[in-house]
């Protein structure tokens, strides 16, 4: 059992949890993730670790309500427990002196990009962060990103806050103004990561993405999270989750992630039926 010590909504449907997990807190490095299971009949879901506090023995994760499990998770509060939290899994982000780095976070991806941005900044990289969200109220961790970046650019799809447009618009702007980018790290929805990869491919800017395929054990045992990288199978759980964006087959990733769409809808419908999503809305 893993106790939730803090839980707060960062935006509608996006919640930050601090969880007691001393073993994981001691070992976590930016870019790594945990697998959670909420209750006995629950599924296992991978979630990137946002930060850890080895002294307190806690880790924090940021979760967006998408399907049944994430809705259920986001209905939990401080004092409640998770049945299983296992990690830290995956290879950590490469933290070296690159020079100028663009960190791009889309939606809840900002929370996953934050620890890597902080670590890169700490060792002396120049960090330019681009945060994108659908609309104003879904922009998260802007202040946190400002603290670890030399410059922050924000976009919203609908223009309700900051610049209207997509993160790739800002990336183009950076390139146009003559920034020499040594590395781009993009974390967010697959279409966003794919679009970033297309922008940087032509310019041969090294670009890393953090992939989120379907996963079960997270230790390399099942092979369900295999992604096609450079035409070869790689397991996101042990070979990743970060990969060279220019070598990833995003079409295969998108398609494989849709494998259980019907079943996911069944679960979600059933969940809505029994909860009517009141729990979450009433707390906002």
């Amino acid at each position: 059992m893993f106790k939730i010590t803090q839980a707060e909504f960062l935006a509608p449907g996006i919640k930050r949890f601090v969880i007691e997990a001393p073993r994981i807190a001691r070992k976590q490095k930016p870019g790594q993730f945990v697998i959670l299971r909420l209750y006995e009949r629950g599924e296992r879901i991978p979630i990137t670790i946002e930060s850890s506090d080895p002294a307190r023995g806690t880790i924090s994760v940021v979760v967006q309500s998408v399907g049944k499990t994430t809705h259920l998770l986001n209905s939990l509060n401080a004092g409640e427990t998770l049945l299983d939290v296992v990690g830290p899994l995956g290879k950590p982000s490469e933290i070296v002196q690159f020079g100028t780095v663009a960190i791009i976070g889309g939606g809840v991806g900002v929370a996953m990009a934050h620890p890597t941005a902080a670590a890169l900044k700490r060792i002396g990289n120049r960090v330019i962060s681009i945060i994108g969200a659908r609309t104003k109220e879904l922009v998260i961790l802007e202040k946190d990103m400002r603290e670890v970046s030399d410059e922050v650019m924000v976009t919203t799809d609908d223009g309700s806050y900051a610049a209207k447009g997509f993160v790739t618009d800002k990336l183009q702007e950076l390139i146009k103004r003559g920034e020499r980018l040594d590395l781009v790290l993009a974390i967010g929805p697959i279409p966003m990561m794919r679009a970033v990869a297309e922008v940087t491919r032509k310019l041969a800017i090294r670009t890393i993405v953090s992939l989120n395929p379907i996963m079960i054990d997270g230790t390399g045992m099942c092979g369900g999270c295999r992604v096609l990288v450079d035409g070869k199978s790689q397991f996101a759980c042990v070979d990743g989750p970060e990969f060279d964006a220019h070598r990833v087959d995003f079409a295969v990733l998108t398609r494989r992630n849709s494998t259980y769409r019907t079943e996911e809808k069944t679960s979600m419908d059933e969940f809505r039926e029994s909860h009517r999503c009141q729990a979450e809305e009433s707390r906002l």
Binding site: R23, I24, K27, R37, R41, G42, E43, R44, K68, T69, L83, D84, V85, V86, G87, P88, L89, I216, D217, G218, T219, G220, M221, C222, G223, G224, R226, L228, S233, F235, V238, D249, V252, R255, R256, S258, T259, Y260, T262, E263, E264, T266, S267, E270
Partner: protein, 481 residues
């Protein structure tokens, strides 16, 4: 011939030989093919005594010699004849920490029963069935072995809660050592839980066997991926373990590297079985982990081992219309247990032998629609001594399939090796360990089971666990490496 002196068996040898092997009561094939409930129902007391009477009580117990953990077969069988079932269970437990499990999944034909003299002319003694009977009897009774050894003050960490780890834990706790088992998944049992289906090895049996070890004092900790959550070095230096046993199992699934392997509907056997067994996907949506809908669909499993048969029989139970085993060699080379092959045939599995897929074909939505296969013929023997299958040119054909499962083996998971300095591995990435002492190249660290040998069986892993326990005990008591 006369009855053997001091034996409780009233029959002479001739009479024993005449007795037929008692069949295992099982669920009717057509009924069970759609359910996950256990196929074999187990002997009654009457059947067990009848079967036990067949034992010839040989002077030279080849059955014991051929058992990887050395179960005292003759002794426990005569206790059954005497009606002392509890005594028989205790006798097995002297050598085997998981009798209810091995009684169900051990390939007895390769070990005890394979060397039984009765089998020379007729059928061998049903040793596995008898073992299962007494183990289940003991469970019903709820009795437990008491640890009598005085605490040694030594701590042993066991990495992985599969058959080798549990077996080592059972032996070490009885020697008075503190034993702590780390498991990466959320349930104890390793491959027993994620790999072997309910209809062959019910989960409650594994839980009972684990609880048995727990009552003896073994501690279990789930959700710890050694190599990530904590390293071997940290276990020894920071957590003060005096010795570590690594029994992490086989690891990464092998893919064929043929076109179409990334299509939706193509699974590794590990994923397919983990979804069903560990995550209960067959009970979706009562359980949350989903599985593709198999009803009315055609499923093919590539491979000829127990894992392949577990997968295809699971697919049948999930409602598959056609269920194929696609194997590149012939019947004779299939590594699966005979009983599983028999059960699969009874349940309606079709065997496409001497056949191998060369490509998976996609429908318009990126889902599997067929496997392009080629027929094989057997050529000269390969390194394993089996005849090497070779494709027959021009024999390609398309087998319509909605789901394909690859059960063609596994390779070493490098997670521990890569985070443990001075732990030597062989060229295939498995941990190097002495075949008798199970010692690795790292002082205080022992290893056994599939992470040393590559994919094998439950009982071979248990054998390695026992040897490791013996040698760990020696190391802890003498301090000699």
């Amino acid at each position: 011939m006369t009855a053997i002196s001091r034996s409780p068996n009233p029959l002479n040898l001739k009479e024993r030989i005449k007795l037929p092997r008692q069949a295992m009561p099982e669920q009717p094939a057509l009924k069970r093919a759609h359910e996950f409930t256990e196929v074999n129902l187990g002997y009654s007391e009457e059947l067990a005594r009848q079967e036990a009477l067949r034992c010839l009580e040989c002077e030279k117990t080849t059955c014991v010699d051929n058992c990887p953990v050395g179960v005292k077969v003759r002794e426990f069988v005569s206790l059954i004849v005497a009606g002392d079932f509890q005594g028989a269970a205790a006798k097995i437990r002297e050598d085997n920490a998981l009798p209810a499990i091995t009684g169900r999944v051990c390939p007895q034909e390769d070990h005890c029963e394979g060397s039984c003299k009765l089998g020379k002319k007729g059928e061998p003694l049903g040793i596995g069935y008898l073992e299962r009977f007494v183990a289940d009897y003991e469970q019903r009774l709820g009795v437990h072995t008491q640890v009598t050894a005085a605490p040694t003050g030594k701590k042993v960490a066991i990495v992985g809660s599969g058959p080798s780890g549990l077996s080592a834990a059972g032996d070490l706790i009885q020697k008075g050592h503190a034993v702590h088992v780390f498991e990466a998944l959320h349930e104890i049992g390793g491959v027993l839980v994620y790999g072997i289906p309910e209809f062959r090895l019910p989960k409650h049996i594994i839980r009972q066997q684990v609880d048995y070890l727990r009552t003896m004092g073994v501690e279990f900790e789930t959700d710890v991926v050694v190599g990530r959550t904590v390293s071997i070095d940290e276990l020894m230096n920071d957590e003060a373990y005096d010795a570590v046993f690594i029994g992490t199992g086989a690891g990464l699934p092998v893919f064929m590297n043929i076109p179409g392997e990334h299509l939706n509907g193509v699974y590794s056997a590990n994923e397919f079985l983990t979804r069903i067994n560990l995550m209960h996907a067959y009970e979706f949506p009562k359980y949350d982990q989903p599985m593709a809908d198999f009803r009315g669909k055609d499923v093919g499993v590539i491979g000829g081992g127990n894992t392949a048969l577990d997968a295809i029989r699971s697919a049948l139970r999930l409602g598959a219309r056609k269920a194929y085993i696609i194997y590149r060699r012939s019947d004779a080379e299939m590594p699966a247990r005979q009983e599983e092959v028999k059960h699969a045939r009874q349940e309606g599995v079709e065997f496409q032998m001497l056949t191998s897929p060369v490509e998976f074909l996609s429908d318009e939505n990126g889902w599997l629609k067929a496997a392009r296969c080629v027929r094989m013929k057997l050529g000269a023997a390969d390194d394993s001594g089996r005849m090497r299958p070779e494709p027959i040119p021009g024999s390609e054909f398309d087998l319509p399939l909605s789901v394909a499962v690859l059960a063609i083996g596994t390779t070493a998971n490098p997670m521990i090796q890569s985070t443990t300095p001075s732990l030597r591995t062989n060229k295939r990435g498995y941990i190097e360990a002495d075949s008798v002492t199970q010692r690795t190249t790292r002082k205080g660290v022992f290893a056994g089971g599939d992470i040393v040998t590559g994919s094998a069986t439950v009982i071979l892993a248990m054998g390695a666990g026992r040897r490791a326990a013996k040698s760990i005990h020696q190391y802890l008591t003498t301090g000699q490496w």
